[in-house]
C-alpha cells in the first residue's frame, strides 16, 4: 500500500515513516510543506495520504486545505489528517463531501501503533476514522439537549454508538467491548431505531449516517 506522508517536524516524520514501514506500507513520498504535498498528491496517486493539518510555509491549515483540494480533484482520495488538536469544525469540512475515505485523528493516537495502523488501513479502504475526542464533543452537545433521542440510549448503546461513529466495524467493536458480534449488531439496530435512522449493512455508509446525524444542527 503506497502512502504519501506530510509532516513538517523531522522527528515525527521520521517516526511515522519507520512505523508505517514496519507495518509493510510503502512510503511513496515523505514531504514537509504544503506545495510539496500538493505535487506529491497530484503526481504519485497514493493509496492513502497521511497529512498534518499545519504545514509550512504559512503554518496555518495548509495541510487540511491541500487534502480538501486533492479530494475535490479526485473524489474519495483516502486522506488521514493528523493534528495537535481536533476541531469539530474541521471534521465537518472533511466529511462534507460524504464520500468517505476520511480520517481525522489527534497526533497522540500514534502512540498506539496498532490502532493507528488500523485507522490508516480503514481510511485507505474507503472507511472512516474519527478521533474519539471529536465524537465526544458531538455527543456532549447532543446530550446537553434533553429532547435529543441520544439521551434515550442505554449506557452500552452509547458506547457502541461512540465506537461506531469513530468508524469501527462491528467486529472491532465486539473485540473492544468484549461481547459477541451478534450483541453488537443488536445494539446497533436499537440505536438506529432510537435515532430514527435507516439501517444499512454497509459499514461506511452506516458511519457516515451516524456522523451526519450527530453533527446536524439542532
Amino acid at each position: 500500500m503506497r502512502v504519501v506522508l506530510a509532516e513538517d517536524l523531522f522527528l515525527l516524520r521520521d517516526g511515522l515513516v519507520r512505523l508505517l514501514e514496519a507495518y509493510d506500507f510503502e512510503i511513496a513520498a515523505a514531504v514537509e510543506s504544503g506545495p510539496e504535498l500538493e505535487r506529491a498528491l497530484a503526481e504519485l496517486e497514493p493509496d492513502v495520504a497521511v497529512v498534518d493539518v499545519r504545514l509550512p510555509p504559512t503554518h496555518t491549515d495548509e495541510g487540511l486545505q491541500c487534502a480538501l483540494t486533492a479530494r475535490r480533484a479526485r473524489p474519495g482520495l483516502p486522506v488521514l489528517v493528523l493534528s495537535q488538536h481536533v476541531e469539530q469544525l474541521y471534521a465537518r469540512e472533511l466529511l462534507a463531501d460524504g464520500s468517505g475515505g476520511v480520517g481525522y485523528l489527534l497526533k497522540d493516537r500514534v502512540f498506539d501503533a496498532e490502532q493507528f495502523v488500523d485507522a490508516v488501513r480503514r481510511v485507505a479502504a474507503g472507511g472512516t476514522a474519527m478521533d474519539p475526542q471529536v465524537i465526544q464533543q458531538l455527543l456532549a452537545r447532543r446530550s446537553g439537549d434533553r429532547q435529543s433521542p441520544v439521551t434515550r440510549l442505554t449506557p452500552r448503546e452509547r458506547e457502541v454508538l461512540e465506537l461506531m461513529a469513530q468508524g469501527r466495524s462491528n467486529t472491532a467493536i465486539a473485540g473492544k467491548l468484549v461481547v459477541t458480534e451478534r450483541a453488537v449488531a443488536k445494539h446497533t439496530a436499537n440505536i438506529f431505531v432510537k435515532l430514527g435512522l435507516e439501517i444499512s449493512d454497509d459499514d461506511n455508509r452506516r458511519v457516515l449516517a451516524v456522523l451526519a446525524y450527530l453533527d446536524r444542527d439542532r
Binding site: V53, R54, H59, T60, D61, S83, Q84, H85, E87, Q88, L89, K107, D108, F111, Q137, A140, R141, G144, D145, D217, R218
Partner: protein, 434 residues
Amino acid sequence: MTGGPRLGQTDGMNTDTKDGGGSRTRAVVLAAVQGLVLALAVLPSTVLCLVLTLVSLALIPLGVGLVTTPWALAVVRTLAGTRRRLAQEWCGVRIPVVYRPVPADARPWTRTAGLLRDPQTWRDLRWLPVDMTAGFVTALLPAVLLLYPLEGFAVAAGWWRVLADGGTYWYGFVPVTDQPTALGAAATAAVLLVAAYPLAPRLLVVHFRLTRALLASPQEELAARVRVLTETRRDAVDTSAAELRRIERDLHDGAQARLVAMGMDLGTVEMLVDKDPEQAKRLLAQTRRSSAEALAELRDLVRGIHPPVLAERGLGDAVRALALRLPVATEVEVDLPGRADAPVESAAYFAVSEILTNAVKHSGADRIWVDLHHGEGRLRISVTDNGRGGAAPGAGSGLAGVERRLGTFDGVLAVSSPAGGPTMATMEIPCALS
C-alpha cells in the same frame, strides 16, 4: 433567524446638499429653526448659569459656596453637555468632553477644590459670557436671515403704509417713504434671501465652531488620552504578568512534573528489562499513559494561550469552532473581509469566549446568536442570548475582565440585560483588516 441585532448607528450628521434644491431649502429652514430654538434657550440659560456660578463662588468664603458650587458647576456642565450633543447631532461638530474625574464620595471641600482645579471648569465659565453674546448672535442670525426678507416683502406689499405712517421707515439701510422705495426694500430682501440660502446652515456651524473653540482644548484632550492609555497599559501589563504566572505554574505542576516522572520510570525500566521483563512492560505502558496525559495538558494550556484555530483560520472560524464546543445551540454569523492583527483577534476571541461562557453558565438560555462584522474601521461583535437577563458589569461576572481586555485596544463593551432577558453584549474595537 439571522444573527443578533446590530449595534446602533450613531452618526446623526446632517448629510444634505447632494440631492437637489428641495433638501437644500429644507436645510436652510432647519438651520433657521434650530438656530432660533438655540438662541431662545441660550440667553436665559447661560445668564442663569453664569449668575448662579458667580454667586456660588462668591459665597465660598462663607462656607455656603462649598456646598452650592459643585451643584452650580454640575448645571453648567449639563448645559455645556447639551450643547456638545447638539453640535454633534445637528452639524457634526465634535466637541470632546474632558472633565477630570472627581471622586463621588469626596467631602464638599475636596470636591469643590477638585472642580476648581480642573481647567475645563474655567473654560466652561469663560464660554458662558461669550455664548450669551457672540453665541446668541450666531445662533439667531440664520432665523433673522430667513425672517427679515419676509418682512421686506410684506413692506413692499403695502405694509409700508402702516409702518412709515407719513414719516420714514428704515428697512435695513433703505429709507421707505413710498411705493418705489418699498420696492427697493423688497429688492434688498430678495438679495438677503439669496444670501441666506448658502449662509444659514453655515452660520449654525460657525456657532458650534465658536463653542468648540471655547470649550475644547487639544492639550486637555491629549492629557485625558494619556490618562486612559496609562490606565489600560497598566491593566494590560498586570493581566499579561498574571497570565505568565499561571502558565508557568501550569507547566511546572503539569507537563514538567510528568516528564520528570517519565524519565524516572524509563530509568527503572532500563534496570528491570533483564531482571523482570513483565514489570518493565507494565512500567512502559504507564509511561506511555503519562506522555499522553502530558500532551493533553499541554493542549489545554495552548488553547488558553492562543487557540490553534485562531492561528490557523482567524477570528471567524475560531468563534465558529468555539460555538461548536458549547452545550447551547449557537448561531454564528461572520462578515469579515480579512483578518485583524493577531493581538486584536486574540483579545476579541477571548472576550467572546468569556461572554459565551457567562451566557451558558448564568443566563439559562437555550439559544445564542453571535454576529461578527467589520465596518467604518471597527470590528463589531454582538452576542445575544434568549436567557433570563440581569447580567451586569462588575458584580464579579467577568464582564469587567472583558472590558479591560478590550480597553487595551480602545475597544468598548456595552451590555443590555433587562431582567427577564434577552441579554445582548456588544463589543467594538477600532482596527483595520488585512
